[in-house]
C-alpha cells in the first residue's frame, strides 16, 4: 500500500477562551491519498475550518494551539516544522482558498500582482515572467480576456471572478494539496456550479489532491471520493461518499443527508417531507466531555451514550463511525 500524502493522527487542537481551554478538535485522524478528493461536512462550529487552518499552520496566534497528535505531510510532521519551513510549504505545496472571495483579496493591489507575488516567492521567477504566468493562470481559471484583466483591481471584479482569482493564486505553484474552505458559500447558485466544474477539471489536469470543506451535500456527492463527517470537534463518520449516502452508520450523518431537498413538486413515498436535525451543536464548554456529544439530539440515545465517548468502529466496507449503535443505524 502506498503511503498517504497527508496523514493526520490523533489531532487535538485547543482554543483558549474566556471560559478556559476547549478542545475544538478532539482526537481526529484521517488520511488523504494522491489525487484524492475528500470532503469535510458538518454544521458550523464543528471544527472543519480549524482542521484546515491547523494543516496550514495558521491557527489564530496565542488562542489556538495543537495540543497533541501529528500532521504528516509526505512523511514530514508539520506540527514540529519551523515557521520558515511552514512558510515554504504554504502557498507552494499546500494552498488554500477561503470562504469569502469578496474580502480575501487585498483591495489595493492588482490581481496580477497578488498572483505573481506567490510565484516570485516560491518559484523564484522574475517580475516579468511571474506576471505573464499570472495572466496564463487567469486564463486557466476561465476569466475572459485574461491578458486585459490581469491589471485589474479586485473591486473591479465580481464575486465569482474573485474566487477564480483565489483559485488561480492557490494553484499557481502546482500544490500537492488544495484546501477549499467553503469555496462557494458566498456565491450565486449558477456561479457555484461553475466553480465546482472548474475545480474538478483543474484536479483532472494537475493531479492535485483536494480537501473540500462544505455544507453542500450535492457538491460532496459530485466531487469527493471520501467524506468525513465532523460533529463538535470529533470525527463522526468517515468513509466512501456513495456508501455513506446509501447507508449512513451515524445518526448525525443520516440527519444531514435527509436534510438535502430534492426538487420534486409532489410529496411521494420516495421523497418524504423534508426532515431536520433538531437542536443545536453543543457550546464549546461541553467539548471534550467523555460522552457522545450528539446524544442530546439523537433518537437512538441510550445510557451508554451519556456515560462514555463512542470509539471509531470500522466496518468491512471501509466505513468508520463513532456511534455506540452504529450497527443498528
Amino acid at each position: 500500500m502506498t503511503t498517504p500524502l497527508l496523514k493526520v493522527e490523533n489531532l487535538r487542537i485547543e482554543l483558549t477562551t474566556r471560559d478556559g481551554v476547549a478542545p475544538v478538535i478532539d482526537d481526529l485522524s484521517f488520511e488523504l491519498g494522491q489525487n484524492e478528493n475528500i470532503s469535510f461536512v458538518g454544521e458550523s462550529g464543528c471544527g472543519k475550518s480549524m482542521t484546515a487552518l491547523a494543516i496550514m499552520g495558521l491557527l489564530p496566534e496565542k488562542i489556538g494551539r495543537i495540543a497533541s497528535g501529528s500532521i504528516l505531510f509526505d512523511g514530514e510532521d508539520l506540527t514540529k516544522a519551523s515557521p520558515a519551513r511552514l512558510r515554504a510549504i504554504r502557498g507552494n505545496e499546500i494552498s488554500m482558498i477561503f470562504q469569502e472571495p469578496m474580502t480575501s483579496l487585498n483591495p489595493v493591489y492588482t490581481v496580477g500582482e497578488q498572483i505573481a507575488e506567490v510565484i516570485r516567492e516560491h518559484q523564484g521567477l522574475g517580475r516579468k515572467a511571474a506576471w505573464d504566468m499570472a495572466a496564463d493562470l487567469l486564463d486557466a481559471v476561465r476569466i475572459p480576456n485574461a491578458r486585459g484583466r490581469v491589471s485589474d483591481y479586485p473591486f473591479q471584479m465580481s464575486g465569482g471572478q474573485r474566487q477564480r482569482v483565489m483559485i488561480a493564486m492557490a494553484l499557481a505553484c502546482q500544490p500537492k494539496i488544495l484546501i477549499a474552505d467553503e469555496p462557494t458559500t458566498a456565491l450565486d447558485v449558477t456561479v457555484q456550479a461553475q466553480i465546482f466544474d472548474l475545480l474538478r477539471d483543474l484536479r483532472k489536469d494537475t493531479g492535485t489532491s483536494i480537501i473540500m470543506i462544505t455544507h453542500d451535500m450535492g457538491a460532496v456527492a459530485e466531487m469527493a471520493e471520501r467524506m468525513i463527517v465532523m460533529y463538535a470537534g470529533r470525527g463522526a463518520e468517515i468513509g466512501p461518499v456513495e456508501q455513506i449516502i446509501e447507508h449512513a452508520r451515524h445518526p448525525y450523518t443520516k440527519g444531514l443527508t435527509s436534510c438535502v431537498p430534492h426538487i420534486v413538486s409532489q410529496l411521494t413515498e420516495d421523497r418524504a417531507r423534508l426532515t431536520e436535525v433538531p437542536g443545536i451543536v453543543p457550546g464549546l464548554k461541553d467539548f471534550g466531555k467523555n460522552m457522545c456529544l450528539f446524544a442530546s439530539r439523537c433518537n437512538h440515545r441510550t445510557e451508554e451514550c451519556l456515560s462514555a465517548r463512542p470509539p471509531m468502529k470500522p466496518f468491512e466496507n471501509g466505513q468508520i463511525a463513532a456511534c455506540w449503535h452504529a450497527e443498528d443505524v
Partner: protein, 325 residues
Amino acid sequence: MTFINTFATRVFYAIILLMAVLVLNFSLMHMAPGDVADTIAQSMGGADKEVLDAIRTDYGLDQPFLVQLGRYMGNVAQFDLGHSFFFNQPVTQLILERLPATLLLVISAQLLALFVGVVLGVYSARKPNGIVSHFVTFFALFGYSAPVFWTGILLLISFSLMIPILPVAGMRDVTIEGNFWVHFIDVARHLVLPMITLASIFLALYSRLSRATMMETLGSDYVRTAKAKGLSERQVVYKHALKNSLSPVITLAGLQFSAVVSGAVLVETVFSWPGLGTLAFQSIIARDTPTILGILFFSALVVIVGNLLTDLALRLVDPRVGGKG
C-alpha cells in the same frame, strides 16, 4: 483623463473657497475696532481728528465698505496685498520672505509626526499588549492634552539650561560662515526643537489612529490570504497590511493640516522662529491690517494646497479612490 478633470474641478473649487476666505477676512477686520489711521497716528506720537481724517482719505478708508472690499479683491487678483505701515514694506514681499521658514517648519513637523506615528502605531499593533503599545497609549494622551506652547517652553528650558546642545531660538546663527552645507546643518539644528514641539500633538494622533487601523487590518481576510501564500511576516505586515492602513491616517493628516499651520503660530512665537507665525503675532499687536489679511490669505492658501496634496496621496495609496472603477 478623469483624473485631470477631477483635479481641475478641485482647483476651481479651491479658488472659489479662497475668494470666500478673502471676503470673510476683510469683513471681519473691517468690523474690528481701530484701523490703520490709529496705528499711523500712534507712530507719529498722536494726532488730532483732522489729521486722522486726512490719513483715512489718503488710504481710502472713508469709502463705503463694498468699495473698499472691491478694491482689495481687485488688488489681490493682481497679487498685490497692500503695503504694511508697520514694517514699511509691501505685504507680499514681507510674507514671501517669511513663508519658506513656516513651510519648512510645518512640512517637516507634519512628516516627522506621520513617520514616527505610523512606525509606533504599526509596532504597537503587532504587540497590542507589549510595553511599546502601552507607551503609545500613554504618550498619545499626554501629547494630545499638553498645550503646544507649554511643551515648547518645557523643551526650551531643558535645552537652554540643562542640556545646552541645541540652539533654542531663531533659525540661523549669523556668526556662522561657510558653504551651503554648513548653513544647511545650522538651520537643521535650529529646526529640531520647534519641529519636535509642533510634531508632538499630531504624532500622538497619528500613532493612535494607525495602531487602531493596523490592528483591524491585521485581522482581515486578505492578511490571512497573504499568510496562506507563505509570505514572510515582514511582507505581510509592510506590504499587505500597511498600505491598507494608510488611507485613514492620510485623511486625518489632511484634516489636521490646518491645525498644524495654526499650531505653528504658537511654536514660532515660543522659539522666535522667523516665520509667518511670528509675523502674525507682531502685526496683530501693531494692528497692521494689510499684513494680517495677507497672512490669513496665505494660511488659507497653504491649507487648501495641503488638502489638494492629501487627495493626491490618497489616490496613490488606494486605487478605489476615484480610480478607473
